[in-house]
Amino acid sequence: MDKGPFVCTGCALLCDDIAVELQDNRVTRVDTACRKGVSRMKGCVSPMPCTVDGKTVDENVAIREAARILKEARHPLVFGHGNSTLEAQQKAIELARKLGAHIDDTSSFCQGPLVEAILNNKIPTCTLDEVRHMADVIIFWGADPSHSHPRHLSMYSYFPRGKQRQRGWEEDRTAIIIDVRKSDTAVICGDKLYEIPVGADPDFMNALLNALSNKVPKTPFNMDPKRILELANILKKAEFGVVFAGLGMVYSLDSLDPLFSLMDKLNETSKFHLIPMVGQYNMRGFDHTLFRETGHINRVYFRGEEIEHGPQQSVIELISNDIIDAAMIIGSDPLASLPGPIAKKLAKIPLITIDPCENLTSRRSKVTIPSALSGVECDGTAIRMDGVEVVLKQIIETNKLTDEKIIARIMEEI
């Protein structure tokens, strides 16, 4: 067995410097990982049983039943993917193609628009290693990495000494927070907090654009123009700037045009990049894989030979318009994360859950198939939040099947 260091799959940072101690094929101690990572690597508190209609069954029976449900459905949906390896995601796309199914992932209501813009080269991006070595101005926009990605600031973006940032955070880096509240990240980043009202991100982008063009920046929420001009000056002088875009920013933009104009303007005078704050460890991986296969990052319907794509193919629209009649959920908990009325509708159709741990969706599923915990019980590859491919290592032995193998077996049955 590999001695490490191992990769943590707790979030999309994929920290690759984790040491573990094992006892009786269980992880008993985890070094360097944050709390989120430790709880992921130590395994599920309540592992998911293998069931059909709530009764414990053999894996083969569950797989046969899952295949039957998917085969009989007219509009099956394959959803989730954010907590699976690239190999499993590839297989899930193959399955959806074979079934003529709808396929979507959590990026549909998460960071999808930004990842799409990056893959279509509409926004300049960079890697987290470049951020560590070069970034001097870091903007956290609608993001609170202290909670979503606890090691973000310490490992890459703010505190570490880099090749061109030898004096570290106190002298060499400036962190700016644009948020609707004083988050815990804002507390440690000093006075550079720009507090804006909920949904005012496009207005603030326009004001910043004016300030960068040496005009008086006006905002509907009356922020002191001097402060915005001060911010514009910091941004103009940046040698290597990076914007970490959180869900706060994505949710308040109806279209990405204000962001595109801002990034273009920033890149006229200095160098600015954008990295989306992806949550699940391999959500970006799914977007890359599907983009390579179909030209779209999510919301795809394999209708025979044709591929349909659009907002009407998103998981939310499919459920609220009663289009789908069966769903396979891989490594996700949509009943807990989707809005109440939509979750209720989803709970009424036959569900198949593939996941290592029990969750709300698995408890309401017709078929549950437990899988190996990726990055702990099985290896594979994943794509980090900045688009870099990371190899995951296996830490402990298990007799559970991997997501990839389960999907392959279901395909065989079909």
Partner: protein, 152 residues
């Protein structure tokens, strides 16, 4: 994070001297430094001061794990982000390629490291707050997002 006036406000403020101290303020000073415990104030358990007692119980964590420099980690608050580990000047000097660059410790010269998602002190005599030439270094406190580190 506890402060002197905050603690004093929760005490009976009667200067009854039952604890052996001259005033309630003197009691508050010793309580902040963890020299005595809240149980040493007899009137605090009376009914009219009970709300203060409950609040103080949350505020004043027992100093069992406190190091010689007074470094105390509130384990229920620490999220293991490692900001303190990377920002600590002693870690940066002793381990520039490892913790100083945001990675796992690469040698045993570090004084802070993360185990099981919680920061742990080690080699505490190397801390800037230790010994005759000690300085009031705040690197680990200022960088903590959840205020889990305290010097008592």
């Amino acid at each position: 994070m506890s402060n002197l006036m905050g603690i004093y406000q929760l005490l009976p403020k009667t200067n009854c001297k039952k604890c052996g101290k001259a005033t309630c303020m003197a009691f508050a000073v010793d309580l902040l430094a963890r020299k005595i415990s809240i149980e040493d104030c007899p009137p605090l358990k009376e009914e009219k001061y009970l709300s203060g007692y409950e609040k103080l119980k949350e505020l004043i964590t027992p100093a069992d794990n406190v190091t010689e420099t007074g470094f105390l980690v509130h384990e229920d608050k620490c999220i293991g982000c490692g900001n303190c580990v990377v920002a600590c000047p002693v870690n940066v000097v002793g381990d520039p390629e490892g913790t100083g660059s945001g990675r796992a410790p690469s040698n045993d010269k570090v004084i802070l490291y993360i185990r099981d998602g919680i920061v742990r002190p080690v080699n505490i005599h190397e801390c800037r707050r230790f010994g005759h030439n000690k300085t009031l270094c705040y690197a680990c406190i200022d960088t903590c997002p959840t205020k889990a580190i305290e010097f008592v």
